[in-house]
């Protein structure tokens, strides 16, 4: 294999690694060796041979395919493509900065982060006008002093932060702003490939709060798959480890037939305790925008794991007697009619109820699933309750529909994370990845 081809392959592996495909050294060697066997004349064969050696999951296959199509093109075409991408980004940055410069208080530009400037450039004209009107009123209002700027600035930041979720790009990286965009060839191709995959699967990267009724079948499929996985994993955990120690009583009694010789050994069977699932779903006002997801979560989980105990909570808590309902619509109606629907949130109170309720089965074979945004009253009580609950149960999984990068803004969340596995399920892709943890 000549140096040019080898160099090209190594650069391609770098692109894959940047895009999130973990290509190990041995896999890279396998891929190069594979090309020796199949040759490099047929593009389809080369693609299949490389994919067999370096892309080891369905998701990696998709990334590989997108990266391959972008990387292995005519060198001149690739140079133009990289130059064009770099220029387009620089242009976009300038536009964002210019657009944000119109946000002024008494002639002074507001001090906003690059991320918020980007949000401002992406919002609709009416939303933008609303902010500008507010700034205009604030700047020219009676007794408005220049040192009021930080207050005005904070109000604008608050508005933009609220709009951030709506316009957030579904991105795995902590920072997916254009200001953090990569400049290397590998970075540009990898980011472009990621973007293409996102566009192709726009639904699964959609924020859960923006999911519409027409998207619900896909949401239902995912939750059902997750529930099925949960059911299977609890069942397989029961069977794990095969046999236990020697069963002397049965061995001796069966040896009578062979004149006392211990001819056939009998082993004890391992019986794990029957595992139970307990779900705690937050149906408070702050979770209202995710209500479609939460309602489907409860009804689908019930369809797959009928033995689960389901509770809904806000400031109070209610147990759902799901077995008395026949359809998922009945379950959803019952929840929306309950006293806890769209109230404040008190996670500590809900956990306290679970810990003290004699009907709630909370022991070392219980798996607790909490669905909540973790925005609660009385954080210390909630944290203490969670600590007590985690000591009693097998595992607590917390599905949080808020994007992980915003968790730092939620009071007490770091404390909650110490006692449970908190999983980001802000979109269907994240939810699907969270399912794999069960």
């Amino acid at each position: 294999m000549d140096d040019l081809l080898l160099n090209n392959l190594l650069r391609f592996f770098e692109v894959l690694r940047t895009a999130g495909v973990r290509v190990s050294l041995s896999e890279a060697i396998d891929a190069i060796e594979a090309l020796v066997f199949v040759g490099v004349l047929d593009r389809t064969t080369v693609k299949a041979a490389l994919a067999a050696c370096v892309a080891k999951s369905e998701n990696e296959r998709k990334i590989f395919s997108e990266c391959f199509e972008r990387f292995f093109i005519n060198p001149l075409e690739k140079n133009n493509y990289i130059t064009h991408k770099t220029q387009a980004r620089e242009q976009r940055k300038l536009e964002i900065i210019e657009r944000a410069s119109e946000l002024q208080y008494q002639g002074q530009e507001l001090d906003l982060s690059n991320e918020l400037k980007e949000v401002y450039s992406e919002i609709t004209v009416s939303e933008r006008q609303s902010i500008l009107d507010f700034l205009e009123r604030s700047s020219t209002g009676k007794n408005m002093k220049s040192h009021f700027k930080p207050i005005t600035e904070n109000v604008v930041k608050g508005k933009l932060n609220n709009l951030k979720n709506k316009y957030r790009k579904p991105c795995d990286h902590h920072q997916c702003s254009i200001f953090y965009s990569p400049v290397s060839e590998a970075g540009i191709i990898a980011e472009d490939a990621e973007e293409a995959i996102r566009e192709e699967n726009s639904l699964i990267y959609k924020n859960l709060s923006t999911i519409e009724d027409k998207d619900m079948p896909a949401v239902i499929q995912l939750i059902r798959a997750m529930a099925e996985r949960l059911r299977k994993s609890t069942r397989s955990r029961l069977r794990t480890s095969g046999r236990a120690g020697l069963d002397f009583k049965r061995t001796i009694s069966s040896s009578i037939a062979s004149g006392g010789t211990l001819f056939r050994l009998k082993y004890k069977r391992k019986h794990g305790p029957k595992q139970r699932i307990l779900t705690l779903c937050d149906v408070s006002a702050s979770m209202y925008r995710f209500s479609g997801f939460v309602l489907k979560f409860i009804s689908c989980l019930h369809a797959e794991v009928s033995s689960a105990d389901n509770y809904v909570f806000s400031t109070g808590i209610e147990k759902l007697n799901i077995r008395s309902f026949t359809t998922s619509t009945d379950i959803e109606q019952e929840i929306t009619k309950s006293k806890v629907w769209k109230k404040g949130t008190d996670i500590g109170q809900a956990i306290h109820h679970i810990l003290t309720d004699r009907f709630a089965i909370v022991n070392s074979s219980t798996i607790v699933i909490i669905v909540s945004d973790a925005k609660t009253l009385n954080v210390s009580k909630a944290s203490e309750g969670l600590k007590q609950l985690s000591a009693k149960v097998k595992q607590i999984y917390w599905l949080n529909p808020i994007h992980e990068s915003d968790w730092s803004e939620i009071a007490g969340l770091d404390g909650f994370k110490q006692h449970c596995i908190m999983l980001d399920c802000s979109n269907l892709d994240k939810l699907s990845r969270a399912c794999e943890r069960f």
Binding site: A34, A48, K56, A303
Partner: protein
């Protein structure tokens, strides 16, 4: 085996495949890597191993995985009963010999010194013999070979299928790593058993749980998607001789229609499509119509919820109106 020979061998088995599958299979064989095949249930993952075994002209060695599967069922087990019988037989033989020595002793009572020497030698020989017998108890003669050991002990190239690896426990998956990377297994009493001829290993997974990166790294990878309408049409024709062409085309289109319906949870597999086509043939259908499709829907949809969802969505009537007329 080169690429064109492999292609001919697969075609000879009436297996419908694409270039991607062929290249991946060829690379796995050439690199001597196990092949990990993932995809939804019923897309033909197991069939790859069966066809490969037929192409090699060997019997397929198959290990079906399940929760609780351990090395005793997958690799080897000591034949406890045989070991016991051997001990009993040896005991009888040695007691016979000892009895003989005692009789000889009685006849030669006069020479006590000689007897002491003979008795000392006999004890030494017996101890040596005992050690050898004990070693013999843990030899290959007393080993029950399970599929994995059988595959690597074979003198000729075997095809080993480790089916539905995702159903096995994580401990078993970790146990497989030595076999998959070095084609050897360690048996504490015997040492390391290396493969005489590297078997072609095919692992399949329905993706019900994530397999470890360590296992993935050791394998070549193939993902099989549901077939396109054209491919499924070719499969129906290849597997069901005499199927009316229009019926095969309708069934392939209907299967794709069902799989694309997001409300259906359990998507029909290729095997189910084949069963359905056979059922429709048994009803003397030359084409798919609403009545016969409704009567035989149970071949494609295997739970009541999916059947209800599908009928609420217009059922086969809608499919026929939209796509077959």
């Amino acid at each position: 085996m080169d690429l064109s020979t492999l292609r001919k061998a697969l075609e000879g088995e009436r297996y419908v495949f694409d270039d991607n599958l062929l290249t991946t299979l060829y690379i796995a064989i050439k690199l001597g890597k196990p092949l990990l095949i993932e995809g939804a249930a019923g897309v033909g993952k197991t069939e790859v191993a069966k066809v490969l075994a037929a192409a090699y002209g060997v019997e397929l060695t198959r290990l079906q995985c399940y929760g609780g599967l351990d090395e005793a069922k997958a690799l080897y087990e000591w034949n406890y009963q045989k070991q016991l019988l051997s001990i009993q037989l040896n005991l009888k033989q040695s007691s016979g010999k000892t009895g003989g020595a005692e009789t000889d002793g009685k006849t030669s009572q006069g020479n006590a010194a000689d007897q002491a020497v003979v008795s000392g030698d006999a004890n030494g020989r017996e101890a040596e013999c005992g050690d050898k017998r004990l070693e013999g108890l843990f030899s290959r003669d007393f080993l029950l070979e399970r599929p994995l050991l059988k595959a690597i002990s074979s003198d000729r190239e075997e095809v080993l299928l480790i089916d539905e690896i995702d159903k096995a426990d994580e401990e078993f998956e970790a146990f497989l790593l030595e076999l998959l990377s070095d084609f050897q297994v360690s048996i504490p009493e015997l040492g390391t058993v290396k493969a005489k001829m590297r078997p072609v290993i095919v692992l399949t997974s329905n993706n019900t749980r994530q397999l470890s990166d360590a296992l993935r790294r050791r394998c070549a990878y193939l993902f099989i998607e549901y077939p396109t309408i054209e491919k499924e049409y070719a499969i129906i024709n290849a597997k069901i001789p005499g199927v009316p062409a229009k019926l095969a085309a309708d069934v392939a289109a209907a299967a794709a229609y069902l799989r694309n319906n997001e409300k259906i949870f359990k998507k029909p597999s290729i095997a189910e499509t084949l069963d359905w086509a056979s059922a429709l043939m048994a009803l003397d259908q030359k084409r798919l119509d609403e009545e016969s499709a409704a009567k035989t829907v149970g071949f494609m949809l295997k739970n009541q919820e999916d059947i209800l969802e599908f009928s609420e969505d217009g059922g086969f009537g809608r499919f026929i109106a939209e796509q077959l007329t």
